[in-house]
């Protein structure tokens, strides 16, 4: 098995996590995550082959609510927290390039 915490691996994780980290931070996280993962590896001592994973403490599935329209949250209050808005919409950098035509 390749080193699970190669520099490339840590860079990949940072990219997946949408975190721009500098070289120094990447190096620090690489060391710290290795130490935590080493501790987490102690779980390998346990035989869990026939154990059902437990994702949640409650056995609740698909609780449905009555199909009744309720008032939405106030749009102005919601938009007031946005860093950039335009005409009642959230403003973001251009996502699609101009295609000419």
């Amino acid at each position: 098995m390749a080193d699970p915490l190669s520099k490339t691996a840590v860079e990949h994780v940072a990219k997946l996590a949408r975190l721009r980290l500098d070289e120094q931070q990447l190096a620090a996280y690489r060391t710290q995550l290795a130490s935590v993962l080493q501790h987490i590896a102690t779980l390998e001592e346990l035989d869990v082959d026939v154990v059902e994973p437990m994702a949640h403490p409650l056995d609740v599935t698909n609780r449905t609510a009555d199909d009744v329209v309720s008032p939405p949250m106030d749009l102005d209050a919601l938009l007031a927290n946005a860093p950039a808005t335009e005409g009642g919409y959230l403003a973001v950098p251009k996502v699609l390039e101009d295609q000419g035509g």
């Binding site: 997946l16 501790h39 102690t42 390998e44 437990m54 949640h56 949250m73 106030d74 927290n81």
Partner: protein
């Protein structure tokens, strides 16, 4: 006693208002003064809601004058952890990324307290997004322990714990994902409760680990904590994971100890990992319980040692997913971008600037254990161990009503002492298990030990089966009176 915890019970405070012995405004005013007086020293509050609290007090006084029943918390000042949203003021979760965030709504738990007459006086500092065991990882500065300002109050709800222990207010809310109410309660010498998963609505609690998080109260006594939980608990249509389980009156039989009273003491809970003085103090309490007629049962919980590893897979995994919402678009900090930057750069820069080091660390860890190739090896394995831990506790509860031990292996430690992440994570060894299994737990002050010439409080930890809070409070009440 080096702290200044309130002397009057919440029942007495509410009763004084009802009788007209004092006004709510006078109570709130005096509370705000105490907050202001100690806040430079403790940094327990990030924001104090002077105007809103006084306005609410005055409204309540008018209603009381009319003879209205304003509820079981009539005029009780309450502090709210900064990761629980309130329409009043801001909610920042101890993070730069949410600086100035104004919630368009108020959390159900806070709404219910207010509907019962409580007055919110401000927002308390905490580890960023509730990730930490010391309240040092806070963008608004570390919180200090009222027993010794050179030491941490515990975390992540350190501000709430310090506020109650420091006499700034008689009650506070925190959130507990792996011990974040109980551990600071222990380190500050107050009562702190982690309700069963689903007992209190999470609507308005900024999500960290959605299958682990619960809002819980801090107070000076078991009775006060029980009173607060009774008001907050119960189903909420806005949180589908809030259980439709009836809420018993936690106060009705509080003074009646369960009979028989069977206390399980895991042999793993008083071992080498503890400060010896902590173990000695808790062992003394166990002896007193035995003398008081309790049956002490030696139990074996070998999976205790795997709790931290399990927790530090599941909690960061859930956190990495929950915190994906902080993207610099809809709310929160947005980084400046240059001409060549695309949407990815905007996300990655905003998150890098807005999140602190511990939050980034946990997002990285969570992203890693969920990533292709490691999902089964880490995440699924941890979920399986979670099941084993739950089964182990269920097995123990067949023989005892509560599991007892120390809340924290160590008393309050000096700021900066646990800089290594794994060393910090080990603070949660006894508390994270409760959240993993979804059961309830409480930390009760057990007295003090001397460390470096300082008296420091120790917490006694009780864990009970899911939705057995009523029994838990009655046992906690016994423990509280052991002397």
């Amino acid at each position: 006693m080096s702290t200044d915890a309130p002397i009057a019970s919440l029942a007495d405070v509410a009763d004084a208002h009802r009788r007209g012995a004092t006004t709510v405004e006078a109570t709130v005013r005096s509370c705000l003064e105490r907050v202001d007086r100690r806040n430079d020293e403790l940094n327990s509050f990030r924001e104090v809601h002077h105007a809103e609290a006084l306005a609410a007090a005055s409204t309540l006084d008018e209603r009381l004058a009319r003879g209205d029943d304003v509820g079981p918390l009539a005029g009780v000042p309450v502090a709210v952890k900064d990761n629980i949203v309130t329409r009043a003021g801001t909610t920042c979760c101890g993070s730069r990324i949410l600086e100035g965030y104004r919630s368009p709504f108020t959390a159900t738990a806070v709404e219910r307290l207010a509907a019962a007459g409580a007055i919110v006086i401000g927002k308390t500092n905490c580890d960023e997004f509730a990730m930490g065991s010391s309240s040092e990882h806070c963008a608004y500065g570390p919180v200090r322990n009222p027993w010794d300002p050179a030491r941490v109050p515990g975390g992540s709800s350190g501000g709430s714990a310090a506020a109650v222990a420091g006499g700034q207010c008689p009650a506070a809310l925190g959130s507990d994902t792996g011990g974040s109410v109980r551990q600071p309660a222990a380190l500050c010498g107050v009562v702190g409760v982690k309700p069963s998963y689903g007992r209190v609505s999470r609507w308005g609690l900024v999500a960290f680990g959605s299958s682990l998080d619960q809002i819980g109260p801090f107070a000076a006594s078991v009775a006060d904590a029980a009173r607060l939980l009774g008001v907050m608990a119960g189903p909420d249509e806005r949180d589908s994971t809030c259980a439709d389980v009836p809420v018993p009156d936690y106060l009705a039989r509080l003074e009646t100890p369960p009979d028989p009273l069977r206390i399980g003491v895991p042999r793993q809970y008083l071992g080498d990992g503890n400060d010896p003085a902590v173990s000695e103090l808790i062992a003394g309490k166990i002896q007193l319980l035995r003398e008081a007629g309790a049956t002490i049962i030696d139990i074996d919980l070998p999976l205790t040692t795997h709790g931290i590893a399990t927790y530090y897979v599941i909690a960061p995994a859930e956190a990495s997913s929950n915190l994906a919402r902080f993207d610099g678009i809809r709310y929160g900090r947005r980084a400046k971008t240059g001409p060549g930057d695309d949407l990815f750069d905007l996300y990655a820069r905003s998150r890098a600037e807005g999140f602190g080091p511990e939050v980034k660390r946990r997002i990285m860890l969570g992203t890693y254990v969920l990533s292709a190739g490691y999902y089964d090896a880490y995440y699924v394995r941890a979920l399986k161990v979670r099941r084993l831990i739950k089964n182990e506790l269920d097995g123990a509860f067949a023989h005892c009503d509560a599991i007892l031990g120390p809340t924290s292996p160590v008393p309050a430690f000096p700021l900066g002492e646990r800089a290594d992440p794994l060393t910090m994570y080990r603070c949660d060894v006894y508390t994270a298990i409760t959240n993993i299994a979804g059961i309830c737990g409480i930390s009760v002050p057990a007295g003090t030990i001397e460390t470096d010439g300082r008296r420091l409080p120790v917490g006694l930890h009780l864990q009970c089966p899911a939705f057995a809070e009523e029994t838990m409070f009655r046992i906690a009440r016994v423990c509280e009176q052991l002397g």
